[in-house]
């Protein structure tokens, strides 16, 4: 299972209390994890990646294992620790604005 942590506003939107556990077929990448997330929670489509371009929204970042993975190509495999459920894939909203 892939463990995913979402920002508070997206947890509210998807009616989630804590982290999400997802089954991902094939390589575990940001795109495959987000595909699985959006398949289970369709209301999240467009909130992390732009609907049309599928690019990460500018004020959203991806972290895992203490690394900022936001600028990696989104089909790059995530660290093994994420694939093995030891670490979480974190979707983080920028600390900005008001």
């Amino acid at each position: 299972m892939i463990r995913v942590v979402l920002p508070a506003h997206l947890r509210t939107l998807a009616h989630l209390d804590g982290e999400v556990a997802l089954t991902v077929e094939g390589p575990v990448t940001p795109n495959s994890v987000l595909d699985a997330l959006e398949a289970r929670y369709p209301m999240l489509r467009g909130t992390i990646r732009d609907h049309v371009t599928q690019h990460r929204r500018p004020f959203v970042r991806f972290f895992a294992c203490g690394q900022d993975l936001s600028h990696e190509p989104p089909d790059t495999p995530l660290p093994d620790a994420v694939a093995l459920s030891a670490e979480r894939f974190m979707v983080v909203g920028a600390i900005a604005g008001g």
Binding site: T12, L13, G46, I48, H51, F59, V60, G93
Partner: protein, 371 residues
């Protein structure tokens, strides 16, 4: 028993204010969608318990919420707003071409007859429609593909399509307004459009009476007299008596003809309301006095309505979407401020009282009169 439901969109969520026909005591529910900007929410005239809300954030983009029970519960529906085809460019602030980019929905206008059909006005300016209750949205691209589209440039608040007026006696006719392009009219249900801005003058433009490029802040009409339109432009309050074919100024004795909202009394089609603002660089009322101005003559002759409104040290703004009327007798008038107050008058504007004082900045106010 008659009920009034006031739908308030704010910078940090939506609120629903309800009262009986006396409009004396109010219940407040919310915030709905707490922490998100709610540019607009509106109910279906055909099914008043069907509400739609535009929820957005700079972090997570655009959502559309729908309620089938008058706002007690909500469900997110479709929120993919993709421009039709290859969108091309409009004009940026500095005059250079700039790609069309969807940012948010400013306005939702449910069909007069079908609760599942809703029009959405977007930034960057485009008109979308759903016919399945919000599940899918498709652009009515004839508007953006008008010959002038590439010349449309944003106002200070963005290139927003902020007003959609449906015409009850001509179902194929619709008016929309864009800052800063102007008013456009369709007579074929949105397939083709033409600008209807003759008579507007904007002195800050290189060509003050240009056909397209005016910063129209709001237009309004009374359903019993749909050929008569009223406009609050960036500067100037305007009127058209020929469905937008021509406009003439009716600012008259207003202390300032800059402002954002304009609305029409529910039962008196010549009674209109504006909120004068000092200037485009001040964005607060003249002299620190919050005054609604009413004209009972369709413009030109205006009276200040001040009873119950702060008449000193008031420096809030009233945004274009933040005024509405109910259809009770006597007509109720409502407006919200950037200071978080929502004021109501149950007597056509003669006297005002705040329903709430401390909401987040109010972006929009709509009213439903329920049997």
């Amino acid at each position: 028993m008659t009920q009034v439901r006031v739908l308030v969109g704010t910078r940090k969520g939506a609120f629903i204010l309800t009262s009986d026909g006396t409009r004396e005591r109010w219940d407040v529910s919310g915030p709905h969608f707490a922490g998100w900007e709610v540019y607009h929410l509106k109910g279906s005239p055909a099914d008043p318990n069907r509400l739609y809300a535009s929820q957005s954030s700079g972090w997570f983009g655009q959502l559309i919420q729908r309620s089938d029970d008058g706002g007690t519960t909500w469900e997110p529906v479709g929120h993919e707003f993709a421009y039709d085809g290859v969108p091309g460019t409009h004009t940026w602030y500095d005059g250079t071409p700039h790609p069309w980019e969807f940012k948010r929905v400013w306005h939702l206008e449910p069909s007069l007859a079908d609760p599942d059909t809703v029009y959405a006005g977007a930034e960057d300016a485009a008109l979308f429609r759903t016919v399945d209750g919000g599940r899918t949205w498709h652009e009515l691209a004839g508007l953006r593909r008008h010959d002038s589209g590439a010349s449309w440039a944003p106002g200070a608040g963005g290139l927003g399509l902020h007003t959609i007026l449906l015409e009850p006696s001509h179902p194929e006719r619709m008016f929309i307004a864009i800052s800063a392009a102007g008013v456009f009219r369709t007579d074929d249900a949105g397939e083709t459009w033409r600008p209807t801005n003759r008579g507007l003058r904007s002195e800050f433009l290189p060509v003050p009476d240009v056909e397209v490029g005016h910063c129209v802040h709001r237009i309004a009409l009374h359903p019993s007299r749909p050929g008569v339109l009223f406009m609050q432009k960036h500067w100037d309050v305007m009127r058209s008596d020929d469905a937008g074919e021509s406009w003439h100024e009716v600012s008259g004795n207003l202390p300032s003809d800059f402002g954002f909202p304009i609305d029409v009394h529910a039962h008196e089609p010549d009674t209109i309301y504006v909120v004068p603002i000092k200037s485009d660089s001040h964005h607060f009322p003249p002299d620190g006095k919050l005054r609604v101005y009413r004209s009972r003559t369709g413009g030109n002759e205006w009276e200040a309505l001040t009873k119950g409104l702060p008449q000193s040290d008031c420096y809030v703004n009233v945004l274009r979407e933040a005024m509405a009327v109910d259809s009770l007798d006597s007509c109720g008038v409502y407006f919200g401020t950037t200071g978080g107050q929502v004021y109501a008058s149950a007597d056509g504007g003669d006297a005002w009282a705040p329903i709430v004082r401390d909401l987040p900045a109010v972006l929009s106010v709509e009213v439903q009169t329920l049997p």
